[in-house]
Symmetry: C2
């Protein structure tokens, strides 16, 4: 029977890196994990799939077309589309054994069956840190915002966090007598649409010319906390005033935490309707046009679908797949000089075993040494070393084995030296 | 409308750890990653889902009831059941850009819809390291076996690797004129069934009494390479002799690599029928009864369903979910003394901001400091510190803020001292 070949296709939009990129990505994740743990967050790793009734609880069971849903036996299952609902399920299910405030971080894959396009993935990583508790003062909101600082310091990126509080616009729109959700949705589009379209949208929703003018003034407010406080005279709605007040307390906490590189921007609303107070987004400094690479905020009643106890939450998120994708397309990833091998060892038939012993000795000393495939000729081995861009090679003849003195070749400069094991170690570990 | 609560159930058999266990598990993964990279393996992270035609290619499209399969739009998709088929797809799809031998490791979740039972999971982690190339000498088989040594050294576990070569039994059974696959399947059960049942099974397959006796003698052969070599007189089948010869070369390489703690055991066949030469299993020393915690071997023509080029492979695997589960049930995990917080800071209303500044200062110096929730009373804060088993707490009154000299309490001994920042740092970093 002839073997019919199948094209080795990956599902489009599912995230997959080449191995050297993956080294950099794993390194990024490891650094972030270290930061989260240094900030007293515990890791969580929930299943990729959950019962549909859990994941669709929020929507009352309505199936979103973006969700991957299937049955297995009697089980109705979905792939998770975020890490928040699984967190809610975990907190409700383990309410009696967890210590609150519960600070957890999670880095994991999530699934959205939308049409793939540049910068949009169907399978991608989310990276979330959340604090959950029955009573959470604004200190925790500040802590989540401050967390961006050590995270991006580890990643060598300058970022700015832009902060608002949804209560401000909610109270203001409530006061205008408009539909708060509809009007918030318009504000959420402010970065994507020209100003006149925004104005038309407000007009469609029944806002008068002077209301629109005042609204644009408020949502274009950005800067430091004094700018925010000065809005206090514009509206006497209680929720509006509460929002301003909360930002005042938040600012006080952020300063105490030593947070720099943040600003207020009242046009930040965050699409998700579950945010109820503080909201924020994180941008690469001087590259705001690339869009937010993180965001988060305060939400109430995380576990409402799963238990009667009211749990508040505040969380921050970094869009690590998107961020990595940006760094890649902006050529900010150096995979060129990244080597999985520090030292290639070239052996001959009679020195293969000696080469293997030497390889073990180097590896045990922390040098990534590797024998170049013994089946190749000497010439082919040298070619291989060049092709793989190995920084150093060691040529192991019988004389070298006898004398324990090895020829080390620096492949960039072409220089060759005779060195013993310790000298090579010293040279490679610089 | 009343809120109808949904029970926060996880799908049975899907792997999920409590946060402190997860710290230990993540730590285990990080150590293994470091070992793989030190041994010149590159990481790979393929999607959790693949087209069904890819994952079911081996079986010619037959649907195994254990597989999670579903459709999304026009796409027929499966959750991966191992990391090997995705590797084959990746290698075939990137054949022109990869350097061979391609050494990759992958740690990822896989899915098997079998009935969950003790030690069996439906979603669990696999951890594989494989070497793929067009011509792979036995040196690479040795390298994969040797890789267990640094892996388990990092995990502080003593293990033994038991090795065989499928050619030995394949050749021997071929010589007997029996059905090789059937007879191998019987050998694979030798740890699970009493000897007389094994004998009956062989009898059913038509083996004579003397053949069974010889067979049992061969498959009960274990020990060093000389024991293996001494079998050479028992059968002159070419494949049988080739198997013995390969083990001889392998042993030579293993010694050169400095491998210790291995033995030969001709009853090792590994269930999977894709292994074609070297096969091995890894056991915790003195706990062989717990079963293999890893295994692997040599396989031919990895990519045969996806391309015409013949790629050989050899790989090792560690059953990390099973291993962690064993360590947990044998009480070998110390989550008791594991703290997400090194230092709890107790503040008062007037010292909250000073406490936040101090917390940042400690965290920046690598100490996991955390403010104990400000909403609680002093007494409740102390109770919280006890409940969370915090090793140290710092009580921050106004005098402490003024003098920069803090009361540090060792929660285990109860001892209190007045120390400045640097002194506390020194004490906590010991």
């Amino acid at each position: 029977m002839e073997n019919k070949l199948i094209a080795p296709r990956k599902i489009q939009g599912f995230w997959e890196l080449m191995p050297k990129e993956e080294v950099l990505f794993e390194n990024m994740l490891a650094r972030l994990r270290k930061v989260f743990e240094n900030n007293c967050f515990l890791p969580l790793d929930t299943p990729v799939a959950e019962f549909s009734e859990i994941l669709l609880a929020k929507s009352g069971g309505d199936v979103d077309k973006e969700i991957y849903r299937f049955t297995k036996g009697h089980a109705d299952i979905c792939l998770r589309y975020d890490l928040t609902v699984p967190l809610a399920r975990f907190v409700a299910g383990n309410y009696n054994v967890l210590d609150f405030p519960f600070k957890r971080y999670q880095i994991g894959k999530v699934y959205r069956g939308e049409r793939p396009q540049k910068g949009r993935f169907r399978e991608f990583y989310q990276c979330d840190a959340d604090i959950i508790g029955e009573e959470l003062p604004l200190t925790y909101d500040a802590e989540c915002i401050k967390l961006y600082a050590p995270c991006f310091k580890e990643l060598n990126l300058d970022v700015v966090v832009e902060i608002s509080n949804r209560k401000i616009l909610a109270g203001y729109f409530e006061n205008l007598g408009g539909n708060v959700v509809d009007l918030m949705t318009i504000v959420d589009k402010i970065d994507k649409l020209p100003k006149d379209e925004i104005v038309s949208l407000f007009k469609e929703k029944g806002l008068s010319g002077s209301d629109i003018e005042r609204t644009l003034k408020i949502i274009s407010t950005s800067g430091d906390i004094d700018k925010i406080k000065s809005l206090s005279v514009m509206c006497d709605n209680e929720t509006f005033q509460k929002g301003l007040e909360e930002l005042g307390v938040l600012d006080d906490r952020l300063r105490a935490l030593g947070m720099e590189n943040y600003t207020y921007n009242l046009s930040i609303v965050r699409g998700h309707d579950y945010y109820t107070g503080t909201v924020f987004e994180c941008y690469i400094k001087s590259k705001r046009n690339l869009g937010a690479i993180g965001g988060g905020g305060r939400y109430d009643n995380l576990c409402k679908n799963f238990m009667d106890v009211k749990m508040q939450g505040v969380g921050m998120s970094i869009g690590i797949t998107r961020l990595f994708d940006i760094l890649k397309s902006e050529n900010l990833l150096d995979t060129e000089n990244l080597n999985s091998v520090d030292l290639g060892i070239i052996t001959f038939d009679e020195t293969l075993n000696a080469g293997l012993s030497l390889m073990t000795k180097f590896r045990e000393s922390g040098v990534k040494a590797d024998i170049i495939n013994e089946t190749k000729s000497f010439k082919a081995k040298m070619k291989e070393a060049n092709k793989r861009n190995l920084p150093y090679i060691l040529i192991l003849g019988e004389d070298e084995v006898k004398s324990s003195c090895y020829t080390l070749k620096d492949m960039r400069s072409g220089a060759q030296e005779k060195l013993n094991f310790d000298e090579i170690l010293q040279k490679l570990k610089v």
